[in-house]
């Protein structure tokens, strides 16, 4: 068991290293010159040359990579080219709202998606199933920019139930979290429905029913437990992705998360900020996956024997 966990942790570190290295190579392939982006369109050749020299942008990719990696290992992510603010400060500022929004979205996905899925599986083929399927299809096909704008218009502008933009209170969180969760709610409902439907047809469920257990116990205790495996993996993946920031939702609701920062950094070729945010996102995804893997090991004893 310990060896297994150690191996997973090792793989996680390797994945993080690979992601940031690939990002580094990709930023070098962008045709835009960070020095030019930093100085603005009025900069002449001499000024651009000076900035390139100042930030060691002419030192060759390998040297730059070594330089950057060694500072990262020492915990120094550098300064944003554009704002001169330490990247670590920017991330520290943005990670709070991002985590808040991500967790709120996951909770909504579970609290709404799972019961919907159970309902659909238990009432397979009847109206609750069809209604749930239609609702999930609608939620999954509504793009965030549309759903977000619609919610914003109706519930914030017209009815005034929620603030229009910004963060800082629970009321601010509701609309962005719901917009972000909509697709996930639908997806979770579908996954739970199909897994649970399969489980309900399994032999052990027939046995449980034959023992005369109440249907409620059969579904929730016996079938659902076995249907949860894929959901745990999904939560891990989702949490990682959501922690990387939600560009569209953050933009619509002026939510001060990581996503907006990443988008801006990419558009402006702000190399230290791109690399720093990708690093944090990679760590988030990898750690979330690691945790969901470990949770699965704990949930399902059969997996522990597979080497």
């Amino acid at each position: 068991m310990i060896a297994l966990v150690a191996r997973r942790v090792g793989w996680t570190l390797l994945v993080i290293w690979f992601v940031i290295t690939a990002t580094f190579v990709m930023t070098a392939a962008i045709p835009a010159d960070p020095a030019k982006a930093l100085l603005g369109p009025h900069a002449d050749t001499a000024a651009v040359e000076r900035v390139r020299a100042h930030y060691c942008l002419d030192d060759g990719l390998v040297t730059q990579y070594g330089c950057w990696l060694s500072s990262v290992v020492r915990g120094d992510l550098g300064e944003s080219f554009r704002s001169k603010r330490p990247v670590i400060d920017i991330i520290a500022d943005r990670i709070g709202p991002t985590v808040q929004l991500a967790l709120a979205a996951i909770v909504l996905q579970l609290v709404i998606g799972v019961p919907l899925g159970i309902l659909a599986a238990v009432r397979r083929g009847r109206w609750p199933d069809r209604a749930a399927t239609a609702a999930t299809l609608l939620a999954q096909s509504a793009p965030q920019f549309f759903l977000g704008t619609l919610l914003l218009y109706l519930f914030a502008f017209r009815f005034g139930w929620f603030p229009i933009a910004g963060s800082g209170s629970l009321a601010h969180l509701v609309l962005p979290a719901f917009t972000l969760a909509a697709v996930g709610i639908a997806y979770y409902a579908r996954v739970v429905r199909s897994e649970l439907a399969e489980a309900l047809d399994a032999d052990y469920v027939r046995t449980a029913r034959a023992k005369g257990l109440p249907e409620r116990t059969v579904v929730l205790r016996h079938a659902l437990r076995n249907a949860l495996g894929p959901l745990v993996t999904l939560i891990g993946l989702d949490l990682g992705v959501l922690l990387g920031g939600a560009v569209v939702v953050e933009a619509i609701f002026a939510w001060p998360g990581l996503g907006r920062e990443v988008l801006q950094a990419v558009l402006e070729v702000d190399l230290p900020l791109i690399l720093g945010t990708v690093l944090v996102t990679a760590i988030a995804i990898a750690v979330a996956n690691l945790l969901s893997d470990l949770a699965l090991l704990w949930l399902d004893p059969r997996l522990r024997d597979r080497r």
Binding site: P31, A32, H54, K84, A254, R260
Partner: protein, 540 residues
Amino acid sequence: MKRALLILALAACGMPDRDPKWRPAGATTPRRGGTLTVAMKDQIRTLDPVIAYDEASFYGLVPLFATLVGYEPHGTGLVADLAERWEVEPDGLAYRFHLRDRLAYADGSPIVAGDVKYAMERALTTPDSPFGPMLVDVVGAQAVIEGKATDCAGITTPSPRELVIRLTKPAPAFIYLMTMKFTTPQRAAHVAAAGDAVRRAPLASGPFQLESWDEGTKLVLRRNPNYWDPALPYVDELVMYENIPRDTQFLMFERGELDSAERLASPDYVWITQQPAWRPYIHTGTLLQVFASRMNTTVKPFDDRRVRQALNYALDKEHTRKLLNNAAVISHGILPPGLPGRDDALPPYPHDVAKAKALLAEAGYPDGFEVDYMTQNDEQGEKLAASLQGDLAEVGVRVRIQLVSFATLATVMGQKTGPAFSLTSWVGDFPDATNFLDARFHSRNIADENALNDTRYANPELDALLDAARAELDPAKRLAMYRRAERILYDDAPWIFDYHPATTEVTQPYVRGFELHPIWVRDYTHTWLDLGEHGERVPR
């Protein structure tokens, strides 16, 4: 689709009354007090005046920092600001500024001439300041840029209230640099003590001072009690929300959460400009900017002037105006309206397909040609490129559109091997023709990489004219030279001249004394709130 559904939803809820909710209380003279709340689409990167060089950051800088020379409230005429007066030597080689008596920063410490010298030297010694290179005409500046000196010999302070700047050659446009925020006085000890935090620790000399800054979310400024003009500003507090998309701003504005909405997004713009009740509160201004399509004049087929002229005749500028909802002035050249030296009598190239075809045939392209066009991957860039594509197709020129980010476009345009045909734009730093024409069309600015003259247009006659105009001390003669330069560029047509953008802002009826500024866009120094007796908004 998005809009249609919104309108459906709107119909379902019943049409709300969308006229102004409030009216001016009716004061005849400016009143003091109150909080003005506005928002911006982007975020403020930094409040360090030697680094900040984007519109959003300028919104923060303008209220915080005063300079020796300033602009008149709603125009580009120069007025005394921290300097009560200034003199220029007859040979144009030295400027002497006299600071006002008892100037102080927001913290009460005195502002002295040496603080302006320090600020300018700081721009010179900061490698990633975009402003240092603008000071090259100052004696000794080049040595400081190159790291051979730290003291700029051409900037001296005979007394704490006197600053003298010597130039290596006459440059009448120099005075405009003293309006730019990087020349705002800064105390060396403050900058040293703040260290890296100087970007969020502004030592204010302008009408406002920093109250708080939640980066990326909200900047709050309050009155600077030590501002040299005790009558200003009128409002006590200025709140600027950051990162609020334009359509969201408009919703907040309609709900009364904002006192002003910037650069309306197009559906809101179209709607509000048709409302008589809102008309008095809509502010429109042309910016010191130009948008066009540039051609590399050294490669085929653009090396032939007739081809470039033909494309100017082929582009239907009325399409541009329509696509921009009329928020544009069609250009005949480079210099924006209101800029001294612009020849307002010169009409834009007319849309003339026959003439364009004739010119192309004369140049040896009777069947036109195929060409790539690189533009910015945003909504406006794509729309205008498609319009250009359609117009040029009429004369047989088949355009393939390539979409890239602004940063990529800015880099590759300046490369010798970069795209021959692309979108281009220029945002003026100050209202002088040299800031537009020298940078973009003097052959001195042709380089293999990062060429500012990215049309690679080289004309010795224009070079000589621009050099002479740059140093000419007689304003009338100087402007006549720029008019001639514009005529040369009009005829040689290195760009397909297109438009100068206008911007629109709508304010609540009780917001008074606000006009869009051609340089700063938003300047709230003279803005006041016409509210009721107890500071409440008066319902319509």
